[in-house]
């Protein structure tokens, strides 16, 4: 097998295959998506791979497979862990049979715009082991270790990557994995383990869980999983580095060596298992050194443990980290953190200017992201805005709750339609809160199709049960688009994996006793506006299904049929098309309106808003 370039996610997938995984489930989420997506593309023999409806469902499927004795992997981003957590805690207490690995990716630095969250805390809360590779190569190895430990102790095991590892690409030489053997599933009946019926069972399970974690600690110690290096002489400096921070140490030490740092004075503990923490080794560092610096991104989880161990072993020196105010809990670490930390603990002077470059980003033009050229969501925002205006309401008085996905981009100019965003499926329930608060103007909730299936349905059912007057607009583009166009339950059957079927939202809504149900085509601005306007005046729960495929997906299959032209004689350069659509395909070049035909996907929305018929769209057939 030749060398290839793989990123952290792909290495994780390949490592799981090497470990003989049989069932892989997950829900897309940046930066974790590529792990499962790459397995789907490989279509490995004897391995079931699927995008599940949400992370909780995904985890429960993986658990079933594990309880039947198979190795299973479940993938998600940190927000997904919140969704899966109820089941995860319960399974942690029951324990597992086949190795069960939960891959969670934390977006440190919030590159994809979600609450910055440290999932290591969840591992601690659930008393489950967690391994943290700091490079692509380690990822490939450690996911195999995770499966092995999981089976040895009988608990699910977390593997956590941060964005910079998940998306980093390295060169690796990975031999193809043999297809895993098809062993018959186990059916084990044991209510002591697999139910929570009665306090005696629950307390025993809790104790078992703790015993399993202790067992993991012993195994990690035996493996010497967390590298410890003590300096020849004691009484000097200790460094404790966790997760990805390990990767920056060498560079920081090299830098400070020029300024007088004595390499041989450093004792270094690298933490790969962020749960259970290597308490013995932490004590060894404390007993051997005079002051210690702790490097870890986000929460001071390791650092707190260092304080506890310091108390237990009578350590009197300084502990540098977040709790003494040196570092922030916010954002990713860069070399500057390590230099500052090492300088502080080694008492070396380094001025900020030596490290800081010349910043000028404040002069760059802001570039708010918008939907793609031809995106169907554009038509929906435009129609909502027009409907509000036609009802003689101001945008400032009509609450439009938003949800996760490309659908949220309606918050940005030129639309400024959407007000807020919480978590998958929250828009519909949030809207009900505004109604109960006494808002008398129409309240609108918006969400995408994947979000509707993921967590939107319970909120809608609640609105029906309590008959809350509001309008839900489901922006159904047929895909889970923002994360890179994965199939979801509503995706056309032709694009479902294997024998998969498509679940039609248009059939779900009427079955929920919703009287006012409409379907619109967001490319038809006039009709969409009229439908929304009408719905906003009706009583009760109204649902509008805005249906049109994601432009990017449609183009990948069908290209860009038809033609779009600008008639310069008719165009008076009022720029209304740009002001209203904000379409990235339209620009003004040399004083003329121009449409980039390589970018335009012929949605026709710009032509619909032009008052002078200056934009002509011709479609075949």
């Amino acid at each position: 097998m030749a060398e290839q370039i793989v990123n952290g996610n792909e290495a994780l997938a390949l490592g799981a295959l090497k470990a003989g995984v049989r069932v892989v489930t997950g829900y897309p989420g940046t930066p974790s998506t590529r792990a499962l997506a790459s397995l789907l593309a490989m279509n490995p023999e004897n391995v079931h791979v699927e995008w599940s409806t949400n992370e909780k469902v995904a985890f429960e499927i993986a658990t079933g497979a594990s309880w039947a004795g198979l190795r299973a992997l479940c993938t998600m981003k940190m927000s997904g862990l919140n969704v899966a957590y109820d089941s995860l805690i319960s399974v942690a207490h029951s324990g597992i049979v086949g190795g069960l690995v939960v891959y969670v990716a934390d977006d440190v630095g919030a590159n994809a715009g979600m609450a910055e969250q440290d999932s290591r805390g969840f591992a601690a809360l659930a008393d489950l082991p967690m391994l943290e590779p700091a490079s692509v190569k380690e990822t490939y190895q450690l996911v195999q270790t995770a499966f092995q430990i999981s089976e040895e102790i009988g608990s699910p095991v977390f593997i956590r990557l941060v964005t910079a590892v998940a998306n980093s690409k390295n060169v690796m030489n990975i031999p193809p994995a043999e297809p895993p053997p098809l062993k018959p599933p186990l059916l084990i009946k044991d209510i002591q383990k697999y139910t929570k019926a009665g306090s005696a069972i629950c307390l025993a399970q809790h104790q078992d869980l703790l015993n399993r974690l202790e067992k993991a600690r012993h195994i990690f110690d035996e493996m010497q999983l967390n590298p410890l290096h003590l300096s020849p002489r004691s009484g000097k400096v200790g460094i404790i580095a966790s997760g990805i921070t390990r990767a920056y140490l060498g560079e920081a030490i090299d830098f400070l060596e020029n300024l007088g740092l004595q390499k041989e004075d450093l004792s270094i503990l690298e933490i790969i298992a962020s749960n259970p923490l290597p308490l013995d080794q932490i004590q060894q560092v404390l007993n051997h050194t005079q002051s210690v610096v702790v490097f870890e991104e986000l929460d001071p989880l390791v650092e707190r443990e260092v304080y506890i161990q310091a108390q237990r072993c009578g350590f009197k020196g300084n502990i540098f980290g977040k709790l003494n105010g040196l570092f922030s809990k916010v954002g990713a670490y860069e070399l500057i953190h390590f230099i500052k930390g090492l300088a502080a603990v080694c008492e070396i002077e380094v001025t900020e200017e030596v490290l800081r470059g010349f910043h000028s980003e404040e002069l760059a033009a802001p570039r708010p992201i918008t939907v793609c050229a031809g995106c169907p969501h554009r038509g929906t925002y435009m129609a909502i805005n027009q409907a509000i205006r036609k009802l003689r309401l101001r945008k400032e008085e009509v609450m439009v709750t938003g949800d996760i996905g490309c659908t949220i981009l309606g918050m940005n100019p030129p639309f400024n339609t959407i007000w807020n965003e919480i978590s998958m499926g929250a828009s519909i329930a949030l809207a009900q809160g505004f109604v109960h608060a006494g808002v008398k103007t129409p309240v609108i909730a918006t969400m995408g199709d994947s979000t509707f299936f993921h967590a939107g349905i319970p909120g809608l059912v609640n609105a029906v049960q309590h008959q809350v007057p509001l309008t839900l607009i489901i922006m159904d583009n047929g895909w889970t688009a923002m994360t890179g166009m994965q199939a979801n339950p509503g995706t056309d059957a032709n694009f479902q994996n294997g024998e998969g079927k498509s679940v039609d939202i248009a059939q779900i809504i009427p079955s929920l006793s919703i009287e006012h149900f409409f379907t619109i085509d967001p490319y038809n601005l006039e009709a969409s506006t009229a439908t929304i306007q009408n719905a906003l005046t009706l009583p009760g729960v109204k649902v509008i299904l805005a249906r049109r495929e994601c432009a990017i997906q449609a183009q990948r299959r069908e290209g860009r049929p038809g033609n779009i032209t600008v008639n310069a004689d008719l165009c008076n350069l009022c720029k209304l098309c740009i002001t209203i659509t904000g379409c990235p395909a339209i620009s003004i070049t040399n004083g003329k309106l121009e449409i980039d035909t390589e970018l335009c996907s012929r949605c026709g929305l710009c032509a619909e808003v032009c008052n002078f018929d200056a934009i002509q769209l011709e479609m075949p057939g």
Binding site: E3, I5, N111, A112, A134, S135, V136, A164, V165, N167, S168, K169, N170, V171, I244, A247, Y248, G250, E251, A332, E334, L335, I336, L355, R356, G357, F358, H359, S360, E361, L363, A364, A365, P366, R367, P368, I369, T370, V371, C372, A373, C406, L409, P413, P414, A481, M482, T483, G484, M485, I552, K575, I578, T579, G582, P584, S587, I588, L599
Partner: protein, 197 residues
């Protein structure tokens, strides 16, 4: 020794293709590389950046401030987001393409002038190599891919050429576009041969 390349531009400009070709060239020549792209979201028109660290096996993915041996900016305004990364005295390749955000197009917000951008790059201590898109050659009547042109120019005119082998890079281009190698190699070659001002 780590050699650091910072790439920046706007989605759709082929910034990540430049990064991947650099990483693939290193792979072919068995030089360790960590390539960390940040794509923002699926949408076109957002900021795209990539950090490439060449020469060391185990390395943190973020290029520290003042540590980039080469910055390639494919868009004028976006170049300003990277000045803090240049190692004083190192090469800063600016492709003078201007991609106006909608608000700038409508006159609702400003857009930095080319002179300001050049001045900031100079203040950061970089050696500027400016490439004017007006000089982009054509191939069989249409403009050549500007990202490959810029990559060619970078290999010839910056320290990147000392780190990576130009022939290997040609091979990486052929491997990537087995069917359209000619056009892409031509673009790369034009960049390689262009006279820098």
């Amino acid at each position: 020794m780590i050699y650091n390349v910072y790439l920046v531009g706007v989605g759709g400009q082929g910034v990540l293709t430049i990064g991947e070709l650099i990483a693939e060239t290193a792979l072919l020549d068995k030089i360790p590389v960590n390539y960390y792209p940040t794509e923002g979201m699926a949408q076109r028109g957002g900021l795209v950046k990539a950090q490439i660290r060449i020469g060391q096996e185990f390395v943190g993915p973020h290029i520290p401030e003042k540590n980039a041996d080469l910055i390639v900016a494919m868009e004028v305004s976006e170049a300003l987001r990277t000045t803090q990364f240049i190692k004083p005295g190192s090469d800063f390749l600016l492709w003078g393409h201007i991609w106006l955000p909608t608000a700038s197009l409508l006159g609702k917000q400003g857009y930095p002038g080319l002179d300001t951008v050049k001045e900031k790059i100079a203040q950061a201590g970089a050696k500027l190599l400016y490439l004017d898109p007006a000089n982009l050659p054509t191939y069989q009547g249409s403009a050549i891919p500007d990202n490959l042109y810029v990559l060619g120019a970078a290999v010839r005119n910056t320290s990147l050429g000392k780190i990576l082998n130009v022939e290997t890079m040609g091979k990486a281009i052929e491997n990537r576009w087995p069917k359209a190698a000619e056009k892409n190699l031509y673009a790369f070659q034009c960049g390689f041969e262009m006279a820098s001002d």
